[in-house]
Amino acid sequence: MAEGIHRVVRVAEARREGRAGVTLITDGALPAEPGQFAMIWLPGVEERPYTIVDDAPFTLTVAEVGPFSAALTALAPGDRLWVRGPYGHGFTLTGRRHLLIGGGSGAASLALLARRALARGDDVTAVLGARSADLLMLPWLYDRLGIAPILATDDGSAGHHGTALDAAAGALATSPDGIYACGPEPMLRAVAEHARDLGIPCQVSVERVMRCGLGVCGQCHCGDRLVCADGPVFGAGVYLEAVG
């Protein structure tokens, strides 16, 4: 790809994620570690951080939450988007048996991790939760990878009736080597505390409003850490200390 602060990629496929948003599969590659993020710029609209769902082809999943995500979800095949990154510290696989817990759009941050773990021949269990069936994100991608994800919804419209952590009880009982979570902050805290109590290594991916994405401005602080530079993935112990 050509020089420049941002590289330009085109949307190859836009895939609807129920009522939750859209997954954009592009025609470019952005080599990255699982859990890293990229800044996506739409000229004249805005620039925001998105987790890298896949790096080849570069893929991102957009939850519809505001004007910028609405502009992204309106993109059609052939449309351009401007990308810089990858940034931040991602996940590190520990051991060979992994439990991934994703709440809502958190499923997006764990997808590349699942792919890399499978490529190593590791055992991967994924639990994906959402408020309702039509807000579940990326179950198709996990299916495609060959992991039948355990689903959980708050209203019982798909999978387990309850939280992703509830639905993970069976998998937790098998003492996985590592737990990896991304989702709403209360979920992250619950997973981190649970993992600590069980003595299982755990990493969580944290979301914050970002400006520079470069570890300069200090906007995305989480305790004494910056999510863009120190994170977005933190060890559960560091995370629990940072959020107090």
């Binding site: 620039e47 400006r211 520079c212 401005c217």
Partner: protein, 308 residues
């Protein structure tokens, strides 16, 4: 051993390196972490009387020779800032790291009221960020470009604050020495030199438009070091006040240039990009080693020695 202790406007710094405003300074946790990493003093993000949302992204870019930013002085306002500064001070005091509060306004009255409120947090020093547009001037000409306007703000803030007062000047002033003389006469205790260069612009040729949402932004990082060193040199020749030499410093050698130009302390900002707060320990080590190699046993012996 080289003595690294510095007296900055009557405030003791364990070393001359100061975290510049606008970097890692939005919350107490990150300010304290920078103090723990070895900074001699830390400057909080600049705050105004009322909260400001700032500009939409893109606001900060790495253009290849450094950074360019137009964050738009996003801040939570003086009231909320006081709470943040208090928490930061509580964490910094045991470390022996002074806290510098930064204040800005778009009129003299705004500066005064913001500064007055910030005194409630009892920062060790207050820095006036006079590079923002003055709404009372023609075309909103920034205070920092005009000796009379910059002195007016300094004098007005002096009416509500008697403590150590730094005024942060702009490299874009046509005669920065004149601005320095004016703020010195108006009661500044020291000068921070300098703010970002420019404004500059970066255009994405594929988008055919400026990348920053504000179109233009302040240029910082290595590209501006020679300009900043010259500003410090000019100011040191013009006034007898301590100077915090800031702009593009990322090594011990850069810091030594600043001190030889006449700086009492050295600001570090954009250099935290990539390296994080560990940059302070590295620059300090390099500075100490270089001073030993060059036969200096104190910062006082270095200060201003480039003025022949």
């Amino acid at each position: 051993m080289v003595a690294m202790m510095v007296d900055l406007c009557g405030v003791r710094l364990r070393n001359p390196l100061v975290l510049a405003s606008g970097i890692w300074g939005s919350c107490a946790g990150t300010l304290v972490r920078v103090g723990r990493a070895g900074a001699g003093a830390v400057t909080a993000k600049s705050c105004s009387l009322a909260p400001r949302a700032g500009h939409p992204n893109p606001t900060v870019l790495d253009w290849g020779g450094g950074l360019i930013n137009a964050v738009g002085l996003a801040n939570p306002g003086a009231e909320a800032q006081v709470e943040m500064l208090r928490a930061a001070r509580a964490g910094l005091e045991p470390l022996g790291v002074p806290l510098i509060a930064s204040v800005f306004g778009h009129s003299r009255a705004e500066f005064v009221e913001a500064a007055r409120r910030i005194t409630a947090a009892a920062p060790d020093l207050i820095e006036l960020n006079v590079s923002c547009p003055n709404v009372e001037a023609e075309f909103g000409r920034p205070f920092a470009l005009d000796p009379v306007a910059a002195a007016g703000v300094t004098e007005a803030v002096r009416g509500v604050y008697e403590g150590p007062l730094l005024v942060k000047l702009s490299p874009n002033a046509p005669d920065i020495a004149a601005v320095a003389r004016a703020v010195a006469a108006a009661g500044a205790s020291g000068i921070t030199a300098v703010n970002t260069l420019g404004p500059g612009m970066v255009i994405d040729v594929r988008a055919r438009r400026p990348i920053l949402s504000n179109r233009v932004g302040g240029v910082s990082g290595p590209a501006m070091l020679p300009v900043a060193v010259r500003c410090v040199y000019d100011i040191a020749a013009a006034v007898d006040l301590p100077i915090v030499g800031t702009g593009g410093v990322r090594s011990g050698e850069d810091a030594l240039q600043m001190i030889m130009a006449g700086a009492a302390a050295v600001g570090v900002g954009s250099a935290l990009y990539r390296e994080g707060p560990a940059v302070f320990g590295r620059i300090l080590n390099e500075l100490e080693t270089l001073m030993q190699q060059e036969g200096f046993d104190s910062l006082a012996a270095v200060r201003g020695c480039a003025h022949g």
